[in-house]
Amino acid sequence: MRYKPLLIYLFISSIFLTLLGSIWKIMATLQGLNLTNINFNINFLLAFLLSFTLIFIGKKINQLIKIIIFSAIFTTIYIFINEGTSIWYNAGVFLISLFFINRVKNYDLNYLKEDFISEKIIFDFLSLFAIVFFAFVILFPFYLMFVTSFKTQAALLFNPLDLSINFTNDLMEVFKSYFVIFKTYDFGRYIYTSSIVSIGTVIITLIFAIPAAYAVARLNFFGKTFLSTSILIIYMFPAIVLVIPLYTVFSQLGLRNSIEGLLIVYTATTLPVAIYMLQGYFKSIPKEVEDAGLIDGQNWFGIIVKIIIPLSLPAIASVALYVFMIAWNEFLFSLMFLDNPKSFTLSRAINHLTGDAETPRQYLMAGSVVVTLPILLIFVYFEKYLVSGLTAGSVKG
């Protein structure tokens, strides 16, 4: 009998189960259930007892029967201790215990005798912890943003813990924030401006970057190495050190509050990385393909349009999506250059909403959903391309 792995297993699995229970309790509280005590110690003891019993029973009885019976027992005691009030909450507890017992069903006293079993147990449960932790920490703010946009200011101030959405109400009431931001705050126009600016930036950047990247990748000219290193160095200089001179010059030229001004700045700041990413890909295209084009009597324009671009569509897609993301999310320049609501982008408009302390937060969050949702959808849909763009471009961020 080895006690060290046994103790480690009991300890870490109980903590894991207690943690799952606590997170579920927090989520339930946020749906308006009145739970005021985490009961960490008692729940830990209960989980410990469960793990203890399970490891001694091991595989002596049918796994399925074991899972169901013990889940039922655990849930009953858990509810008894924790004043469970609602059926869906209790059902959740039952599902958590099902998941947990299923997860540890193969642990028995024999299994604990394997080599490095303590480390394996720790790594196993650490991964589980990490999955729960990362999922919770990342998704929670997005969840909060989403549900807050469906609430009212009064309800939020009365009970900040009740984030439940009442869909039995009039749907007009539920989606009121969205109607308001589109009608009163003119978000339709901002979506239009943001789209024009982002798509425009993508197109102009590609028009400038593809020939330049081709030159860097293929042609020999004086100052080539200097140019390709300076591309990256230039890229390291942040927007904040450019902002004052650009602001003064743009003020004198009357380019502030104009889409053209934003397009110029966004294009220039994303060009270096676009060239860097594209030239890397162009270099990987075999030179023989181009020679065939040369023999056909194509000039450089023909070669780029007819050979290079069709062959490097995936790389161009990555660059386009990456540049789109940068332009859509950009905030500093739009803050500096735009102060007329008629030319706002979405980011600037949301920032403008907070300028007035009276603006109810659900409008702010509805606006945030409107700016976040498109970019997340694009990301999920084109993940493959965007990830390779991000990896190449992630020197910046």
């Binding site: 509280t29 946020l30 005590n37 080599d115 490095f116 394996k120 790594f123 991964s127 990490a130 999955i131 999922a135 920490v137 990342i138 998704l139 703010p141 997005f142 943003m145 807050t148 939020l156 900040p160 813990l161 020939p211 330049a212 081709y214 030159a215 042609l219 020999n220 000219f221 140019l227 230039i234 390291m236 942040p238 927007a239 904040i240 050190v241 902002v243 004052i244 001179p245 602001y247 010059v249 700045v265 220039a268 700041t269 270096p272 060239i275 450089w300 999310n329 500093l332 979405l346 949301i350 702010l364 606006g367 945030s368 700016v371 976040t372 970019i375 990301f379 991000l390 992630s394 961020g397």
Partner: protein
């Protein structure tokens, strides 16, 4: 023959490069040098506009005489600090109307009133009056007179182009008591933000490198914080952390973990009692660093994951045969494989976090001890409206950046291309 070919090649290369290089020079490199110029000048935000002479035209009737009108031009120099020279004035009158007792500075000729006002000092103001009458003694239509706008022109120095320089801005930047504090805050923020993001990124990469159910889903959502727009995410966090009605504080109070809400973004220090020592924690700064880590660990994750997936599988198999446990495998195989990428990540992320503006600006606006150098650029330039000071701070940032980059290229510049 080859000579001409290479010449053609060169010419093609320059043609292809010219537009991109020109744009980047104009928008990125030019401002960096312009900063040096501006930082040696005393410029306020309101001085940026080129000074111009302005006139507001007011038409008044003279009560006893309907055939006469009085026009008052409110003249002023729009600039508070710059003079305008050789100002010329031009206004037109309709047919059959002429001025009475015209000012000696002006002449009336073929329906035009032309004046030479000479030089105006800064802040100059004058009410310039002209009485006009109808030659045929008819009633004058006020609106016709009003609709004609006077034209003014003059020579003024563009304050940005004068050669008056001063060291005042730099003296002020370095003499400020808070400069050291500013620098320290920036370094705390940068260092802990970078290290935290890399540590979390490493855990996340290690996690996703294993096989488990929902792995692709996990990989997608791990990138959400970086892909989402900073404005939306920062405001969501502000809402989450709000002391009065924020979810986090409400939860902590509800479960009796704290007695009263903590203003995580508005409180400069939090005194913690650990083992009998009072430790003063920079609370708002810590919160901002947490946000920074949350938002940028996905980048570290992406980099490290790409490297982990390139580690040959047989290394692990061989280690297993030799009887190594998971911990040994991680220390002896995984870590050495990713140290190169970790050091590069550290340098790059350090430089980028050093320049971070939006995140802090949106969360705290630089209040409660979260003022970093980039925030200071904004505050000096646009909140205090001292463009010269803002540029001087920018120069400090650029100098530090150049030092970082030299270190970066000395240490790992050559290896960066291998990865």
């Amino acid at each position: 023959m080859t000579d001409t070919l290479s010449k053609i090649e060169k010419r093609t290369a320059y043609t292809l490069l010219l537009p991109a290089v020109f744009l980047v020079f104009a928008i990125v490199l030019f401002p960096i040098f312009a900063n040096i110029w501006i930082s040696f000048k005393e410029v306020q935000l309101k001085d940026i506009r080129i000074p111009e002479p302005r006139a507001k035209k007011i038409v008044k009737s003279i009560s006893e005489d309907k055939t006469k009108l009085k026009i008052v031009y409110r003249l002023r120099n729009s600039s508070l600090i710059e003079d305008i020279n050789n100002i010329e004035f031009l206004d037109k009158l309709p047919k059959n109307i002429e001025p009475v007792d015209l000012d000696p500075r002006c002449t009336f000729k073929s329906k035009k009133i032309e004046c030479d006002f000479g030089n105006w000092k800064a802040k100059y103001k004058e009410n310039f009056e002209i009485v006009i009458r109808n030659i045929n003694n008819n009633v004058i239509d006020k609106n016709v007179i009003k609709s004609q706008k006077p034209r003014l022109s003059g020579d003024a120095d563009n304050i940005l182009l004068t050669t008056k320089f001063t060291l005042k801005n730099f003296k002020q930047v370095f003499n400020e008591n808070e400069f050291l504090d500013l620098l320290l805050t920036t370094f705390y923020f940068t260092f802990f933000g970078t290290v935290g993001a890399i540590i979390f990124g490493m855990f996340a990469a290690q996690l996703v490198n294993q096989k488990f159910y929902g792995r692709t889903f996990m990989r997608s959502i791990l990138l959400f914080p970086y892909v989402g727009p900073v404005v939306a995410l920062a405001y969501t966090w502000t809402l989450l952390l709000d002391p009065n009605s924020g979810t986090l504080n409400a939860l902590l109070v509800n479960f009796d973990i704290i007695d009263k809400p903590i203003n995580l973004l508005g409180q400069k220090y939090l005194t913690l009692n650990l083992f009998g020592f009072d430790i003063k924690l920079r609370l708002a700064l810590t919160t901002v660093i947490m946000f920074e880590i949350w938002r940028y660990f996905p980048l570290a994750f992406l980099f490290i994951l790409a490297r982990l997936q390139a580690v040959p599988k047989d290394l692990y198999e061989a280690a297993e045969v030799d009887g190594a446990g998971p911990l040994r495998k991680f220390i002896n195989i995984t870590l050495p494989q990713i140290t190169a990428i970790l050091s590069i990540l550290f340098m790059i992320r350090f430089i980028w976090n050093f320049n971070k503006f939006e995140d802090i600006f949106l969360l705290t606006g630089g209040a409660s001890g979260t003022r970093t150098l980039p925030i200071n650029v904004y505050q000096q330039g646009f909140a205090v409206s001292n463009i010269g000071m803002g540029s001087a701070v920018s120069i400090v940032i650029v100098m530090l950046l150049i030092i970082f980059m030299i270190i970066y290229f000395k240490l790992i510049g050559k290896r960066a291309n291998e990865i």
